[in-house]
Symmetry: none
Subunit: 217 residues, 2 copies
DNA sequence: ATTAATTTTTAGACTACCCTAAAAGTAGTG
DNA sequence: CACTACTTTTAGGGTAGTCTAAAAATTAAT
């Protein structure tokens, strides 16, 4: 059984490594958890002994399989509770973080799974962040968004992530619908926007946000 | 800000003193919390310094006003969460205790009050125990049931909670009616039953259920 | 490549909470 | 009142987690 403190360390390491690889350094973790570097070193030794992190003196740490599972389960709980607070208890999306920060440590798989069901197996929290399912898979797992592809690639639209009518009508105006073939001509690095060719005939420029919300194969 | 451990001590003392006055002895608390007497002594000194308990060496402890408020707020949270688990997440009434034991320590008055509203301001948990309101009043406040009194106390019957004819005829058979004087001789801790003296003459044994359904003054 | 700046680790100490073993206090019994 | 049984407290120590200050290692810079 892990302590609240240990769980918070794992969560911090997970999120640092999500953003940029090799970034979970002693100092970075300390800053994230508002503690001191020496405390982090201490804890890394303990977590390493429990096979939750891979730790080597003076090097950035990474999570083991076991550590990753714990971290994901905490993120899952955090996001489910946030959604519960907003959707069922009518909190505003900016008021829920601190409460979810506490609720995420409640230990009961059954509780988490039933909460998940109660909320209708959602895949996004109130901030639009993905909620991993009970197997620890993030919703877009297996599904590729257009934004993940490189230029000169061709693909077929198989779904949308954002279901808002404004997004859908925007797609319609571009003649993009299910099964539309898209070729990426240029993928601009500076803003992640793209020049694409729709169905081999119509050229268009789409923003990063649009590319991130189109599932393709 | 109180620690989880401190909160659990306060809750234990509250419940011991509810059952029988002067019963929150070092040993009793230790047993209730599955810890050792020496640890309890330790904690009593700390809680006393924080003005949460009244502690004098070698004597049973009681809660201060502040201590009582904390204890009641924890009980409130525990019972609201239990009801949530049963009513909304469809847990069985016997599966919820351990989870509620964790949830009761979540610190957010707003959360508690919204959960209360979400559940429709209930006054009983799934086990039939009363849920204090946000002011810390138990639903039957203003009205005291016989079960809330300690042994050696004397009181007068002023009403019944259960109005069923079977209960009323049972009372009649015991010669208990409005304005009857009852003296509590013994309040058994193990099953909350009582030995009482009716109108100073007739001795009787009554169960917890009966005591809980008699309003007295 | 040696020095300087920065990061990380170690050493030693503190608090909260727990324990065991022994001492001290309280109560019951003849 | 003394003796025994029991309860409670003290004394001393352990672990988890924190800190500061100093030492060691790494990285950057001249």
């Amino acid at each position: 059984m892990l302590s609240l403190t240990e769980e918070n360390y794992l969560k911090a390491i997970f999120s640092l490594n999500r953003e940029v690889a090799e970034s979970a350094t002693t100092n970075a973790i300390a800053e994230k958890l508002d503690t001191k570097a020496s405390s982090v070193t201490d804890m890394m030794k303990r977590l390493s002994k429990k096979d939750l992190v891979n730790y080597q003196k003076y090097q950035a740490v990474s999570l083991t399989k076991k550590g990753k599972e714990v971290a994901i389960s905490i993120i899952r709980k955090h996001r489910l509770w946030e959604l519960f607070l907003v959707e069922k208890l009518h909190f505003k999306w900016d008021e829920v973080h601190d409460i979810a920060e506490q609720l995420e440590h409640i230990k009961s798989t059954q509780l988490t799974d039933r909460l998940d069901a109660f909320l209708g197996f959602p895949d996004q929290d109130p901030h639009g962040d993905p909620i991993p399912n009970k197997e620890g898979q993030f919703p877009e797992d297996g599904r590729t968004t257009l934004s993940e592809l490189n230029q000169k690639t061709s693909c077929k639209v198989v779904g949308v992530k954002d279901h808002s009518s404004s997004f859908l009508s925007y797609l319609e105006s571009m003649d993009i619908e299910l099964n539309t073939i898209i070729q990426i001509k240029t993928h601009h690095a500076f803003d992640s926007s793209m020049e694409i060719l729709i169905e081999g005939k119509k050229e268009a420029h789409i923003s990063k946000e649009v590319a991130q919300n189109l599932y393709v194969e």
